[in-house]
């Protein structure tokens, strides 16, 4: 497998010098994440009505305390039911257009500006129900907005570096904060997560709860994978590719067993920038 990645590395060198192409692929994968996400929000439309958990009525007082009472009438026009749904629909349409215009970098950049703007506007309403995948998606799409509309290679490179660093930060934060906890290292906390209906999986929990050593090994494997992200950037490219393949497997497992479906797309979108960054570091350092 390592030999396969080593050979692939040869062809990758040609691909990885096209920064705008990498940015546009990252933006496209993120758009898929956002399309799924927005369609899910639209399917929950009844909960945005006056009586629902996402109702504007119960949120506008909070927004008024943050942005001032004068902002409420304008924001009410945007955020009340059913207008809020139009924002989701508009974002879906922009994401579909982004996928349709793959290759037209400037137009993709303009669409990314719209998508970023809508995402920031929606976040003002309240972030209940959102996940880390949403944060990563906004980071990627906003970066693509800045970079794809620019003609300067230095800006594209800065954008790819930024996205790659954000992925390393995401994994390292989750990994290092947890690996210092004995309950995470023993696998006990992993079992607590798997036990939940919200994040867990009954079949996997039943399997691991009677096999504490396997729970510990699984938990440690996840933690080591996450903790090593910043160091992987300094490794040879074929090892970085192997690491990212493990990452894809990790996110597919999270989607199947935990139901974290959009993480696969949102985090997967950042893998090419991460790979690009590792190549640059290899070129500079070694």
């Amino acid at each position: 497998m390592i030999l396969y990645f080593y050979r692939m590395n040869m062809r990758l060198e040609e691909f990885l010098v096209n920064e705008r192409l990498i940015l546009s692929i990252a933006a496209s994968l993120t758009a898929i994440s956002m399309i799924i996400n927005d369609l899910e929000w639209i399917s929950l439309r009844s909960h945005f009505k006056r009586t629902g958990i996402f109702s504007w009525d119960s949120r506008k007082a909070r927004v008024a305390s943050l942005l001032g009472a004068k902002s409420v009438p304008a924001l009410t026009l945007l955020f009340k039911f059913p207008n809020i749904l139009f924002l989701f629909v508009f974002r879906v349409l922009c994401c579909i257009a982004l996928l349709a215009f793959l290759g037209n970098y400037f137009l993709m950049g303009v669409l990314c500006i719209f998508i970023s703007g809508i995402s920031i506007i929606i976040s003002i309403r309240g972030n209940e129900g959102t996940t880390g995948a949403d944060s990563m998606a906004v980071i990627t799409i906003a970066t693509a907005a800045f970079c794809l509309t620019s003609q300067v290679p230095f800006v594209w490179k800065a954008g790819l570096t930024f996205i790659g660093c954000q992925l390393a930060l995401a994994y390292a934060t989750a990994g290092w904060l947890r690996i210092v906890q004995p309950t995470w290292r023993s696998g006990a906390d992993l079992l607590l997560v798997l036990r939940q209906v919200t994040y867990g999986n009954k079949m996997v929990w039943n399997y691991l709860v009677n096999r504490p050593k396997m729970a510990m090994v699984t938990s440690m494997a996840i933690l080591l994978f996450e903790c090593s992200a910043p160091f992987v950037l300094f490794m040879p490219v074929y090892l970085v590719i192997a690491y990212l393949c493990i990452g894809l497997f990790f996110h597919i497992s999270n989607a199947i067993f935990m139901g974290l479906n959009t993480f696969f797309w949102a985090f997967g979108a950042t893998y090419l920038p991460f790979l690009w960054l590792s190549v640059q570091i290899n070129l500079i350092v070694f």
Binding site: E40, T51, I53, C147, C165, A174, T198, W205, N261
Partner: protein, 169 residues
Amino acid sequence: MWSVTDLIIPAFFLVWFVASVFAQFKNSKVRGYDYLGILPSFRFFAPRPVTRDIRVFAKGITENKNESAWKELFYADKKWYCFAWNAQHKLRKAVIDIYSDFDAFRESPTIWHVTFPYLIILNAANAIFENSMEFTRVQFMITCFAGHEESTHDIIFLSNEHEIGRVSG
């Protein structure tokens, strides 16, 4: 020839990344300046995970103190195809988020009823009974349970009783 914006954008990325790093610390002051909501939180289940599932119930109370059965608010189930489509997760996550926001006020009975998370739940509880004219008051409770392990629910919060608000017309 480089323009000023060519340097501003990379500088913005640098500031954004440094702010993102500081935002990962608990009670980070940087978050207070995040007006656009662009600083991520990558603390997934750290340092300790949420250990139990949360469910919220509400009941109606009549003038004669008769009570309805507890009805679940924000019911969300998990389907086998959640790996591709998991809209219900947003509901469950919202309940956890709202409870997390509310947790800080649980020991402050004098003000908890004016906090935003309390009002969000009360608003939804009110909606269940506002069309049933027999009920005049409403109360909600937050419970937790050990997920797949057992279904016994512990009550972790019981709200005040509130007069049901009805939208006229």
